[in-house]
């Protein structure tokens, strides 16, 4: 858990580790007027999200990282920082059938496709999509 702190302190503490983590923050922010496309979303009502120069919002670590690159002044009101696990843990290797391209350890999908039964191939691709979203 992260208590109230300045964006600068938090940024210097974790830096690029923010990208390799699950981070959720509640922040107050102000971008310099020169920024044309601010990246922090603020929910306006039930259906609208805007990207203002100044406001209060929830954001992820990656969004925070990019905002800091854009010289944004940030005050962190609270949040959570959970780093990724060390790479010693192996991702379960799942194979759809013996000849099927399987998910490799770094979870990138192999491109090779075995053309045998077009329907079955379609099903397998659907499974791959679901696997990625489920994992």
């Amino acid at each position: 858990m992260i208590g109230r702190t300045t964006g600068e302190d938090f940024y210097h503490l974790y830096q690029r580790n923010l990208i390799k983590s699950y981070t959720g923050l509640k922040i107050k922010f102000r971008f310099p007027g020169s920024v044309q496309y601010p990246n922090l979303p603020v929910r306006l009502d039930f259906s609208s999200v805007i990207f203002p120069l100044e406001g209060e919002t929830f954001c992820t670590g990656v969004e925070f990282y990019l905002a800091m690159q854009l010289k944004c002044q940030i005050e962190i009101l609270g949040g959570v920082f959970i780093p990724f696990k060390e790479r010693t843990i192996k991702t379960p290797k799942i194979s759809i059938d013996e000849n099927e391209a399987s998910f490799s350890e770094n979870k990138t999908m192999e491109k090779e496709i075995f053309v045998r039964d077009p329907f079955f191939e379609g099903v397998k691709n659907e499974i791959k999509r679901t696997l990625i979203s489920e994992i």
Partner: protein
């Protein structure tokens, strides 16, 4: 290789059991009740049976009753009361305390059997052992149930041999026994209760029917139905349910209790007394395995099903109904009736299955299921003349009508509605689905735009081609669903038509992950205490959820709040002349998520 470790009644901590009980322990096999000796133990693991019966004797001795004596009705009642009194002794003070629990003679049997739980009542980590205590309770209830079943069986036989006066007296006592039995069964955990009474043999009649409608547009809002077509086939399935017992006490429990083997034996013995014929089911399996005309499929829950080898496309029954004069003929129940009538001839496999079961004097439970499938059901289902009456029975998923959790009952049939557009990769068109099977006569009849726009004129001008076109659609839908059915088995070990291809993928994933990693499910991530799932937000945001979820309730708000959906932005406003580009990243979220790793 058999890896199961057997529970052995070994007293390592002698302090808990009174000395006279221990001295009697060596005699227990000889002290078996005469009624037990009469049982037919074919198909049983005798070592397991003797372990269970040893435990039975021990419970008798703890309650001061001789395990080998023949009890009268009153004595049986007294014995049950004695066990229950001893068992629930800790209730006497009105509250549960450590001393009372440690004095409890029946729980002492458990503590002596499993020395690792010697200090169970001193532990504050009760959630780790409550499963063991609960299942030990189940075990003792099974011992009592076995006793009641034995006497009930015996006295039912006696009843047939005695005078009329005695008979009514015995009947009264038997009724009392039945009440006691019901009370005991109620106190068992759900999974064990079900496995005692479950009928393991099911004969299923299944009908699969694709249907399609052709209509013409009257104006922007109204259509006029011209005809409907069906293509149907049937199969007969003999399902032999697994004798595996579900030991889970709450959702997601996968750990087996130490007493699992003893409970399994107890359940088997009670089933034997109830005439469930588990041994004969084993014989039936052997007989059916030898029969080359059937396929044997083993499902994810270890159920075994036998069915005909494959579906034959030439045996699909098709029908065409011109309903231009009376569109009300197209109704949901009318459609089912039509399909049932087309498949009214008994499947030859059904007769074969019946012959086999009759040979072994087995009585299967009969089930009838009907799967109705259409492509983009929204169009077809909304044209039912009884749509307003039945629409509440359907669910809507991805703009399609179908049945999700509950089926629709009609006569003896359970009816399921499926949409083949949800069963095809990327919501393919019917033509594309037909082209998936190039070797089969399933390509869609090609029509020109004029014919498609003016179906009624096309119908009048070339009826045979129109009929071919309409029937082919229903056939494609049916055949494709049957392929999905087979794939569902191959990938997920389930033999039913799934609702969507994604649900098939999801069950495939859950099967792979649960089976692979030490039999523990890592599919639904739990919090560290294993009680509240991150997926179950409704449960998390309750007083109980917040207290039991560890720190999860503190974290979750930050992550939920950070989710804003995709950014969609137009960089220039107003009228644009000339060429403009619309950039889209399909599957951006899943792709980014695939680069994430497990949280530490």
């Amino acid at each position: 290789m058999k890896t199961k470790t057997k529970t052995k009644l070994k007293f390592t901590s002698v302090n808990y059991i009174p000395e006279h009980v221990l001295s009697a322990y060596g005699l227990q096999i000889k002290m078996l009740h005469p009624l037990i000796k009469l049982l037919d133990f074919r198909g049983f693991d005798l070592e397991e049976v003797s372990t269970f019966l040893n435990l039975r004797s021990l419970v008798f001795l703890v309650c001061g009753v001789n395990p080998s004596s023949f009890l009268t009705f009153t004595e049986i009642e007294d014995f049950l009361l004695a066990v229950q009194k001893e068992f629930y002794l800790f209730h006497i003070d009105g509250y549960v305390n450590q001393r009372n629990m440690e004095l409890n003679k029946i729980f002492n049997i458990f503590r002596s059997l499993y020395p690792q739980y010697k200090d169970i009542f001193r532990s504050y980590e009760i959630k780790n052992v409550d499963c063991e205590l609960e299942h030990f309770h189940n075990l003792i209830i099974l011992v009592l149930l076995l006793e009641l079943e034995l006497y009930q069986k015996h006295y039912t036989e006696v009843k047939g041999r005695v005078d009329y006066c005695d008979r009514s007296e015995i009947k009264e006592k038997l009724d009392l026994m039945q009440i006691k039995k019901s009370e005991l069964i109620k106190s068992l955990s759900g999974g064990i209760r079900v496995s005692i009474s479950r009928n393991r043999l099911i004969l299923q009649d299944r009908i699969y029917a694709g249907f399609d409608t052709e209509y013409t547009n009257i104006d922007d809002q109204k259509n006029r139905i011209l005809c409907y077509t069906t293509a149907s086939t049937s199969e007969s399935i003999l399902r032999i349910r697994s004798n595996k017992i579900d030991f889970s006490l709450r959702e997601g429990d996968v750990k087996l209790p130490k007493t699992a083997d003893l409970i399994t034996t107890g359940v088997k013995l009670i089933r034997l007394l109830r005439g469930k014929k588990d041994f004969e089911l084993g014989v039936l399996k052997e007989l059916l395995d030898r029969e080359s005309t059937f396929d044997r499929l083993t499902l994810f829950n270890q159920d075994i099903i036998y069915k005909q080898k494959t579906f034959d496309i030439s045996k699909i029954h098709t029908s065409f109904h011109d309903i231009r004069t009376d569109p009300t003929q197209f109704s949901f129940y009318g459609l089912i009736d039509e399909v049932l009538q087309n498949q009214s001839d008994s499947n030859p496999s059904t007769q074969k299955f019946r012959d086999f079961t009759r040979k072994l004097n087995l009585k299967p439970v009969f089930r009838s299921e009907c799967f109705l499938i259409a492509h983009f059901t929204t169009a077809d289902v909304s044209l039912f003349s009884d749509f307003n009456e039945i629409k509440d029975k359907f669910s809507i998923l991805n703009k399609s009508f179908l049945t999700l959790d509950r089926n629709i009952s009609y006569k003896k049939w359970k009816v399921y509605l499926r949409d083949s557009s949800l069963l095809s990769p990327g919501g393919m068109s019917l033509k594309a689905i037909g082209n998936l099977y190039p070797t089969l006569p399933l390509s869609k009849v090609d029509l020109d735009q004029n014919q498609i726009k003016n179906m009624d004129l096309f119908f009048d001008s070339n009826k045979p081609l129109f009929m071919d076109y309409a029937i082919q659609d229903a056939k494609i839908v049916l055949w494709h669903s049957l392929q999905v059915l087979n794939s569902h088995y191959q990938l997920s070990k389930k033999y039913t038509i799934p609702v969507t291809l994604s649900s098939l993928a999801s069950s495939f994933l859950s099967l792979k992950l649960i089976v692979s990693e030490d039999k523990e499910s890592c599919y639904h991530p739990k919090t560290k205490n294993g009680l509240i799932s991150m997926k179950d937000l409704a449960k998390l945001n309750t007083p109980i959820g917040i207290e039991l979820s560890g720190d999860l309730h503190e974290y979750i708000d930050y992550f939920l709040g950070s989710y804003h959906g995709g950014r969609n932005e137009s960089y220039i406003y107003g009228m644009i002349e000339g060429r403009f580009h619309d950039y889209d990243l399909p599957g951006a979220y899943p792709t980014a998520m695939s680069m994430l790793d497990y949280p530490d």
